[in-house]
């Protein structure tokens, strides 16, 4: 039963991936770019969801990992002449180390304290990127050598999205994921039932840091210029959170659907109501929060369209 569902989901995923592989050749540069950013937000929302949805530690600072990944790529490509793909790996490693260093103390905090500490960690990272002139060129930002990056970054983002979905799916439908859920539900009880919460939280946090770093690197190589305000933009964190909540945090389909819908809505409102797009965007969020407090997936579960729980 469960195996059949997994197979079905995998087939759907493979078909979508195939379609996305063929699409970019026939479409405008704008549409290709639109798809790339939609895929990027899927990656960001799903990653945020691993620590904040599955594990219940709401992070308001996840943009820190995205920004660090972007900087790793820009510095290594522009100043050290690395191949951009290799720089993505370096960014992932740096973000993982950073997640352990930040996570170890900060994951002792709970609820709003954790959220605010993460906000501080992200701001701190931005300030470091601004003042550490010799490494980051400070407020001037970094320009990457010009190149045709639209196609390669598209495929890189597609590959990253596929990996992120598979990992998030595997975590969500495993006993590892269930144990993260237990920490979210009642950390004290989880520990009394044999779960080493510190270790699990740190693993989830590190996992949730890696993919945004790679996404940040790809994005840097796509736009060929970064500076601290653009890659440590707090609104990127907010987008991750909103997209997950809209779709249904703590699920796998939720953040994917939320990212696609919200990013599309954002683009449409921006295109059609250039002056009022934030109002339209805000209204959309209010309506969803009012009528679907647990997101689209929660709504579907309440209607009986989807089964409760991740492991059956």
């Amino acid at each position: 039963m469960a195996r059949r569902e997994h197979t079905r989901n995998l087939v759907v995923l493979a078909l979508v991936a195939l379609a996305l592989t063929l699409v970019p050749h026939g479409v405008s540069v704008y549409l290709r770019s639109f798809l790339l950013f939609a895929m990027m937000y899927v990656v960001l929302a799903l990653s945020w969801n691993i620590i904040s949805g599955f594990t219940g530690y709401t992070s308001f600072g996840h943009v820190a990992f995205y920004g660090v990944g972007a900087y790793a790529c820009a510095i290594l490509v522009a100043d050290y002449e690395w191949h951009w793909l290799a720089s993505l790996g370096a960014g992932a490693v740096v973000a993982a180390v950073m997640a352990v260093v930040i996570g170890y103390p900060v994951l002792r905090l709970k609820g709003p304290y954790f959220a605010i500490a993460m906000l501080g960690a992200a701001e701190g990272t931005r300030v470091i990127a601004t003042v550490w002139d010799s490494l980051t060129h400070g407020g001037l930002g970094i320009s990457l050598p010009s190149a045709e990056t639209s196609m390669p970054t598209y495929y890189a983002m597609l590959a990253l999205m596929a990996v992120t979905i598979v990992v998030a799916y595997a975590v969500g439908h495993s006993r590892f994921g269930i144990r993260l859920n237990a920490i979210r539900e009642d950390e004290g009880a989880a520990e009394a039932l044999g779960i080493d919460a510190t270790r699990y939280k740190l693993a989830a946090f590190t996992l949730s840091a890696i993919f945004p770093a790679v996404a940040g690197g790809i994005q840097a190589y796509k736009v060929l210029y970064i500076d601290p305000p653009s890659v440590f933009f707090v609104q990127i964190t907010i987008a991750m959170a909103l997209m997950s909540m809209l779709g249904g945090k703590g699920t796998v389909v939720g953040p994917i659907a939320g990212a696609v819908l919200l990013y599309t809505a954002q683009e449409l409102t921006w295109v059609n109501f250039p002056t009022a797009h934030l109002i339209a965007y805000g209204l959309f969020i209010i309506i969803v929060a009012r009528f679907m407090p647990r997101g689209l997936v929660g709504f579907a579960i309440n209607r009986g369209w989807i089964r409760k729980g991740m492991v059956h």
């Binding site: 859920n181 009394a192 044999g194 089964r307 729980g309 059956h312």
Partner: protein
């Protein structure tokens, strides 16, 4: 009391814990007999729950030892105590509310156990407590009594040797309670050691072989139910003749 070390499942020695100026557990000594059902009773505030929390690592002791299989487990973290083979339930149930009943069960088994074995064990225990029909329902949607059963079943997932039950009878109807007590006796028949904290004297007197009575953070009496019921110190502690000092 003439017990050989082999007969003792848990040996609590001179356990102490103060919260500020309140000495909640103040040099407590008792030895839980192996393979039996024992009860821990005492008036409100006598230190029973703190003792439970000390035994399971939820609260760290100021001093004293908790010997389990010849090893001092005092001061270990809750998950470490659990991995020694000691498990507990809570006075107020703590099921994982937004996880299904089945997920609640699976969450307990460590990842080194194969998935198939964990699932089989979960199904078996759910059948035992008659919750199979609710396996896909959220824990938070169960009635209080069903949550008690779920918590009890969940605590057995890893086949622990020592089971600590914190007020299993509280808030449970008679039928369900009888059901729960039957399970407890079955566990004991299979060689498990059970320690119950309970306010319901009927439960304690008719199901425990040995009873420890606490007051003011120390053990004031111990023995079989009949002796405890006649014990002057216990009567004093419960009815307060001694409380003038």
């Amino acid at each position: 009391m003439g017990q050989r070390p082999d007969d003792i499942a848990l040996d609590v020695r001179n356990l102490r814990k103060a919260f500020g100026g309140v000495r909640a557990v103040d040099g407590c000594n008792f030895a839980v007999p192996r393979g039996k059902i024992s009860g821990l009773i005492g008036p409100n505030g006598s230190g029973k729950t703190t003792t439970f929390n000390l035994l399971t690592g939820i609260v760290q002791p100021d001093a004293g030892q908790v010997l389990y299989r010849g090893e001092d487990i005092a001061g270990l973290k809750p998950f470490q105590v659990f991995h020694k083979g000691i498990t507990r339930t809570f006075q107020i149930t703590r099921v994982f509310r937004e996880m299904t009943v089945f997920e609640n069960m699976l969450s307990v088994t460590s990842l080194s156990v194969p998935d198939g074995a964990a699932r089989a064990r979960a199904e078996e225990l759910l059948a035992l407590v008659n919750l199979t029909h609710l396996r896909g329902e959220y824990g938070g949607r169960l009635s209080y009594g069903q949550q008690k059963l779920l918590e009890f079943a969940r605590a057995l997932m890893t086949d622990p040797d020592l089971i600590l039950l914190d007020e299993p009878a509280a808030g449970v109807n008679r039928t369900l309670l009888q059901h729960l007590l039957d399970h407890i006796h079955r566990l004991q028949e299979r060689g498990k050691t059970i320690l119950i904290v309970e306010h319901d004297m009927n439960v304690i007197m008719s199901h425990c072989e040995r009873i420890f009575v606490m007051d003011y953070g120390v053990k004031i009496a111990e023995g079989p139910p009949a002796a405890i019921q006649r014990d002057e110190r216990v009567i004093d502690a419960y009815f307060g003749r001694r409380r003038q000092h």
